[in-house]
C-alpha cells in the first residue's frame, strides 16, 4: 500500500475537463440529490402543519402558516434540555474514555512482545465480530445485576465496553505510523513507558483519534437499543429514546413527532456541517488505510 501513498491532491479533481458526459453525470446526481432531500423536505413540511392540515390536505402541500406550536410541544414532550444534555454527556464522556483507553491499549498490544499480547489482540477483536446488539439480552441482565441500569456511569460503562473492540482494532492499525525510533530515543532519554506514550505516541495519533471519536460518537448519539434498556428514568433518558416514545403505536402525534425529529437532527447536522472537513478526514483515513 505504502508506495501508493502519494494521493491525488484535492485540486486534481477539479482539473478534470468538464465535458458533455460530465454534464450528464451532474444532471443525474442532481436528481439523486433531490431524491435524497425529499424525505427531509417531508419532515420539515409536516413539522409546520396543524393536525387538521395533516389529515385533510395533501401531504405535499405546504402549510398555510408555520405552526411553531408544534416545536413548543416537541420541546416539552421530549423534555429537550434534559434529554439533550444526557445524550451529550453519555456521548462525550464515553468517547473520551474510549479514546484514552483504546489508544493506550492498542499501543501496549502492538509494542509488547509475546503470546499474551497476541492473544489480547484476538481477545479484543472478538468483540468486533459480535456486535453488542446480539448480546443485548445478557448485557441487560448484567446491567441490573451490577446496578448499572438507570445510572449515568452504567450506560457510559457499557458504551465503553461495547466500543472498546473496534477502538483497539482501529488504533492498532495506526500504530505502524508511529516510528519506533522516536520511542526508542525517548526511552534512552529515560522516559517511562507511560510517559513515552503521552509525550511521543499520543500526539502522533491525532488523526486516528479523530476517526475513533467521530465513528463512536455517531453510534452512541444515535443508539437506541442500549439506551432504551439501560436508562429509562425521566431524568436520564436520551434523545432517541424520547423520540421513539412519540412514535409509539397509539395516537401518534405526527406533527409534534416531526418537529421533534427536526429538533434532534439539527444539532448534529450543524456540528457535521461546521466540522465537515474533520468528519470526512477522520472517517476516511481509517477506511483508505484499510
Amino acid at each position: 500500500m505504502a508506495k501508493f501513498r502519494r494521493a491525488r491532491q484535492a485540486e486534481d479533481v477539479t482539473q478534470k475537463p468538464y465535458t458533455a458526459s460530465t454534464f450528464a453525470v451532474q444532471a443525474v446526481m442532481t436528481v439523486v440529490a433531490v431524491l435524497f432531500l425529499f424525505p427531509l423536505f417531508v419532515i420539515l413540511n409536516y413539522s409546520f402543519k396543524t393536525k387538521k392540515e395533516l389529515y385533510l390536505t395533501s401531504p405535499l402541500k405546504l402549510p398555510d402558516s408555520l405552526q411553531w406550536a408544534n416545536y413548543e410541544a416537541a420541546l416539552k414532550k421530549l423534555n429537550l434540555t434534559t434529554t439533550f444534555t444526557n445524550t451529550f454527556i453519555y456521548t462525550a464522556v464515553s468517547v473520551l474514555i474510549l479514546a484514552l483507553l483504546c489508544g493506550v491499549t492498542a499501543w501496549a498490544i502492538s509494542r509488547g512482545k509475546g503470546k499474551f499480547f497476541k492473544f489480547s489482540f484476538v481477545y479484543f477483536v472478538i468483540g468486533i465480530l459480535i456486535p453488542f446488539q446480539a448480546l443485548f439480552l445478557p448485557i441487560y441482565t448484567i446491567g441490573y445485576k451490577m446496578h448499572l441500569t438507570n445510572t449515568r456511569y452504567g450506560i457510559i460503562f457499557m458504551y465503553v465496553a461495547t466500543g472498546i473492540s473496534f477502538g483497539v482494532f482501529l488504533m492498532n492499525s495506526f500504530m505502524s505510523t508511529v516510528p519506533l525510533e522516536l520511542e526508542e530515543a525517548a526511552r534512552i532519554d529515560g522516559c517511562s513507558v507511560v510517559r513515552t506514550y503521552f509525550v511521543i505516541v499520543f500526539p502522533l495519533l491525532k488523526p486516528a483519534f479523530a476517526t475513533l471519536i467521530i465513528m463512536q460518537a455517531f453510534q452512541i448519539w444515535n443508539d437506541y437499543l442500549l439506551a432504551s434498556l439501560y436508562v429509562s428514568k425521566k431524568g436520564l433518558k436520551t434523545l432517541t429514546v424520547a423520540i421513539q416514545s412519540l412514535f409509539s403505536a397509539q395516537a401518534s402525534d405526527y406533527t409534534t413527532a416531526m418537529a421533534a425529529i427536526v429538533v434532534s437532527v439539527l444539532p448534529i447536522s450543524v456540528l457535521f456541517l461546521s466540522l465537515q472537513k474533520y468528519f470526512i478526514k477522520g472517517m476516511t483515513v481509517g477506511a483508505v488505510k484499510g
Binding site: 475537463p17 435524497f36 483504546c102 499474551f116 479484543f124 439480552l137 441482565t141 472498546i164 432517541t240 423520540i243
Partner: protein, 294 residues
C-alpha cells in the same frame, strides 16, 4: 542479548498493566454477558423466578424446529445480502460520479451524507409515513399507478426496508469510496490510457483493484450492520406485516423479554453470535488475503 531480554520483560510488564483496565471493562461488559447467554441457554428460565431449571440442549433442539426463528433468519439474511449488494454498488457509483469532475462536488457529498446523521429509529418512522401517506400522493399528481405501499405487504416489505436503509447509509459508504478513489494515483490512469484501455477497462482494471481496502471495509461494515438490524424495524414495520420483516434480534426481544422465555431467547442469542463469528472469520480471511496481494 540477555540484558535486552530482561529489558523487554520489564517493558512487557508495563505494557501488560496498560492493557488490564481495558481488558477488565471489556470482559465484564461483553465476554461475561456472552458466557451468561451460554449458561442461560441451557435453562428454561423465564427471566423472573429465582430458580433456573436446567433443560440441557432442548432449547437448541426446539430452535431447530422453530419455523418463526427460521423465518427471522431468512429475512435477516435476505436483508443483509440485498443491502450488501445494493449499497456497495450505489455507493461506488455515486463516488465515481462525484469524482468525475462535476461541479459543487462537496454539496452533493453533504446532501447524500446527511441521512446517516439521523437515528435509524427516526428513519424507520419517516419512511413509514413516506410509503403510506406521502408517496401515494405522487400517483395522484402524476396520474401514475406505482405501488408505494411497500410496508403493507409481506412480498414488498423487504424492498421497502432496503430502500430506507440505503437512503440512510449510501452516503456514508460513498464517502469511504470517494476517499479511496482520491487516493488512487493519477499516473496509474495515465499509464492505462497510454496502453489504450477504455474507460470501462480502466475502471475494472485500475480503480477496482486499487479500491480493495475500501471495498473490504464497506462489505464488512454493511454485512455486520445489516445482520444486527433492529432499530430500523422498531418504528417502521414492527416486524410485520405478519412476521414478514421480523429480524433475529427482534425475535430475541419478543421471545425473551415480552414472551418471558429468557432461556430460549438466550439460545437464539448464542446461535446469532456463532453465525456472526463465522461470517466475520470468513471475511477476516478475505481481508488478510487481500492485504497480501497489495
Amino acid at each position: 542479548m540477555n540484558k535486552k531480554k530482561t529489558m523487554q520483560d520489564k517493558m512487557n510488564r508495563q505494557y501488560f498493566l496498560l492493557i488490564v483496565p481495558g481488558m477488565v471493562i471489556f470482559t465484564i461488559g461483553v465476554i461475561l454477558p456472552l458466557l451468561l447467554a451460554l449458561r442461560y441457554s441451557f435453562t428454561s428460565w423465564d427471566g423472573m423466578t429465582v430458580e433456573k431449571e436446567s433443560v440441557g440442549i432442548s432449547n437448541y433442539i426446539n430452535l431447530w424446529k422453530d419455523a418463526n426463528f427460521r423465518q427471522a433468519w431468512w429475512f435477516t439474511i435476505k436483508f443483509t445480502i440485498a443491502n450488501t449488494i445494493v449499497q456497495n454498488v450505489f455507493a461506488l457509483l455515486f463516488a465515481v460520479a462525484l469524482d468525475s469532475g462535476i461541479k459543487a462536488q462537496k454539496v452533493y457529498r453533504t446532501i447524500l451524507f446527511i441521512p446517516c446523521l439521523v437515528s435509524a429509529v427516526i428513519v424507520g418512522f419517516v419512511w413509514l409515513k413516506l410509503y403510506s401517506n406521502v408517496l401515494p400522493e405522487l400517483n395522484e399528481i402524476f396520474g401514475t399507478n406505482i405501488n408505494f405501499l411497500l410496508f403493507g405487504d409481506g412480498k414488498t416489505v423487504l424492498r421497502g426496508l432496503v430502500i430506507a436503509n440505503n437512503w440512510q447509509w449510501i452516503g456514508y459508504w460513498m464517502l469511504i469510496y470517494l476517499a479511496g478513489l482520491q487516493s488512487v494515483p493519477s499516473d496509474l490512469y495515465e499509464a492505462a490510457k497510454v496502453d489504450g484501455a477504455s474507460a470501462v477497462q480502466r475502471f475494472f482494471n485500475v480503480t477496482i483493484p486499487m479500491l480493495a481496502p475500501a471495498i473490504t471495509i464497506c462489505v464488512v461494515g454493511i454485512t455486520t450492520g445489516s445482520l444486527k438490524v433492529y432499530d430500523l424495524l422498531v418504528s417502521s414495520t414492527g416486524g410485520g406485516p405478519g412476521r414478514a420483516s421480523t429480524s433475529v434480534i427482534q425475535m430475541i426481544y419478543a421471545t425473551a423479554i415480552s414472551g418471558r422465555q429468557y432461556g430460549y431467547g438466550s439460545a437464539m442469542s448464542v446461535t446469532l453470535v456463532v453465525i456472526l463469528l463465522m461470517v466475520a472469520m470468513i471475511q477476516v480471511k478475505g481481508l488478510k488475503s487481500k492485504e497480501v496481494q497489495s
